[in-house]
Symmetry: C2
Subunit: 326 residues, 2 copies
């Protein structure tokens, strides 16, 4: 929630002169996105998003993110599509920041996802994984298993101030994950942050996937595991097997999970839980006093981690060993 | 800059069912307004603003603000117009807050106002003053001369930490203003906060006045004085007599300032400077450490105050004693 960079109407009009999207009628800073400054533009040609990339996003990664959105959109995935300027470039410069204009997608994100929402996301994720197969750019996942230890090191000394025993829990889990993390599962472009606030719906129909700024190359099944955590737990942190079954079945109808992927799912889900637990914990411990933005609760992910630690087989996620509904 | 209250798509759809403005297509939290939570809605009927009134706005004042906007809009002033629900009410309840839907106005606010912008604002302000004459509701100005002493008392002990000698300057100025504040100038409904970010333009044509949440009954010429401070100083805090002349002449063509109002203008401008100096000073001294919102610089208004203290006559504002351009 933030607009970090103020853009004057005069600056913006000059920037828009480089695009073929009409005259500026109005623009409003949008209170979403903690990494970037976002504006909703209205021009004589329609509505658009303007994003100014702040320093938390590496400028070198922007061609990957924008190229991926353009690639996916051209392969039938509904996602925001970058608008190219009169020089054919998707990336420009505004108010001293890298800046891009992207399509405005209709839709609202579901605060209380239903099984139907979960199924729609499963289908869309699988289609995205297939569509990404011939995308030629690559970006390493800085927040995969090799990235977790440094986050743990930042948080370890104060972890027990958040929950008694948390440091030991994290240390043991990291050891386990580093020893057992799979190396040979199918890889490709993953979204890596497909939470409910990054999936837009009109009713129960998915109208688009957004926010590709964590996208990277990693195991496709790891993306599935992230979604299990993000979509299939209730607000009381109980796992909802009906939603998991709906999600996994819909995914599987588009792209079948291999036996190795299915077997690895509990472990991948533990890894996905640790990844968000650690980044939230670091944010939690480093929030400035009086800050308006309330950090997300890391302990939600402790409960999710404990659930997956107790999972015996993929049947606990609602599908059988062959990948069919169980 | 904030969205304080998160509204779910489900809550919002239920709220919109009480209005005749179509189905919800999307909504975005807007990063403007420090008093309220604002969303831009897109429905199948068009674009609208949704405002949730947070606790800094007294709920008892809302009928005045919304009634004033409706009154002014029906008298030809371009300003946001409240949308009434199926029960004929402009004010509803959403997420536990009083809430209203208002028209969306096109336009952008000028970061570097020109003399033409100042003239357009002068004309609009005068028209608003005339249109307000038969508005029957009233609201006292809590931030007029009687409200300044309590603000000073909050800030006095630490005022010199912001600028050496500031406490003595404020004390002497308050004494002077309380002794000389006019009592018999023409009164009516004033905007009381008509800064550049509350005036929308398409090019140099004014497309609307917004943010009536400080509107109240007070001396009309005090509103003029607020605008002199808000529009007619350069970013280096030098007074721009060309802009003042443009503003006052345009105002005077619609509503003539009386001789008594013209004579009082330097004093009213000192009062208007003190009013914003004091609220900014209190905010400045009470900003939580690490807050994302940077408070506005109170010292800008020290320089404006000093300018008006040195003004000998209305000729220094670019018009002669009869109110004509000088």
């Amino acid at each position: 929630m933030a607009v970090y960079t103020d853009v004057s109407a005069e600056q913006l009009a000059e920037f828009l002169a480089g695009y073929g999207i009409g005259e500026l009628l109005s623009y409003k800073g949008i209170a979403e996105g903690v990494e970037n400054s976002n504006y909703l533009l209205h021009t004589s040609r329609g509505y658009f998003f303007l994003t100014l990339y702040e320093k938390r996003v590496a400028a070198g990664d922007l061609p990957f993110f924008l190229g991926l959105m353009a690639h996916l959109a051209s392969h039938g995935i509904t996602c925001p599509q970058p608008v190219v300027n009169r020089n054919g470039a998707a990336l420009g410069q505004l108010a001293g920041r890298p800046a891009a204009i992207i399509d405005f997608l209709e839709g609202v994100w579901p605060r209380r996802p239903s099984a139907a929402h979960c199924a729609a996301v499963g289908e869309a994720l699988a289609k995205m994984h297939l569509a990404g197969a011939d995308f030629t750019m690559t970006r390493a996942n800085a927040l995969s298993v090799a990235g977790w230890r440094p986050l743990f090191d930042q948080a370890a000394a104060r972890a027990d101030s958040v929950q008694d025993g948390l440091r030991a829990l994290l240390a043991a889990e990291l050891d386990h994950l580093q020893a057992h993390w799979p190396a040979s599962l199918p890889r490709g472009v993953i979204h890596a942050d497909l939470f409910p606030d990054n999936a837009l719906f009109l009713g129960e129909k998915l109208s688009g996937l957004i926010d590709f700024y964590f996208a990277c190359n990693d195991m496709l099944a790891y993306d599935v595991a992230i979604c299990l955590n993000a979509w299939c737990f209730e607000s009381d942190h109980a796992f909802n097997v009906t939603k998991a079954r709906a999600f996994l079945n819909a995914y599987g109808r588009v792209r079948s999970l291999s036996e190795a992927e299915r077997d690895a799912l509990p472990l991948l889900a533990r890894g996905a839980a640790i990844r968000f637990l650690l980044t939230r914990l670091v944010d939690w411990l480093n929030v400035p006093p009086g800050a308006l933005v309330k950090p997300k609760d890391p302990l939600e992910y402790v409960r999710k981690l404990r659930f997956h630690q107790g999972v015996a087989s993929i049947r606990d996620y609602g599908i059988d060993a062959e990948g069919f509904a169980a």
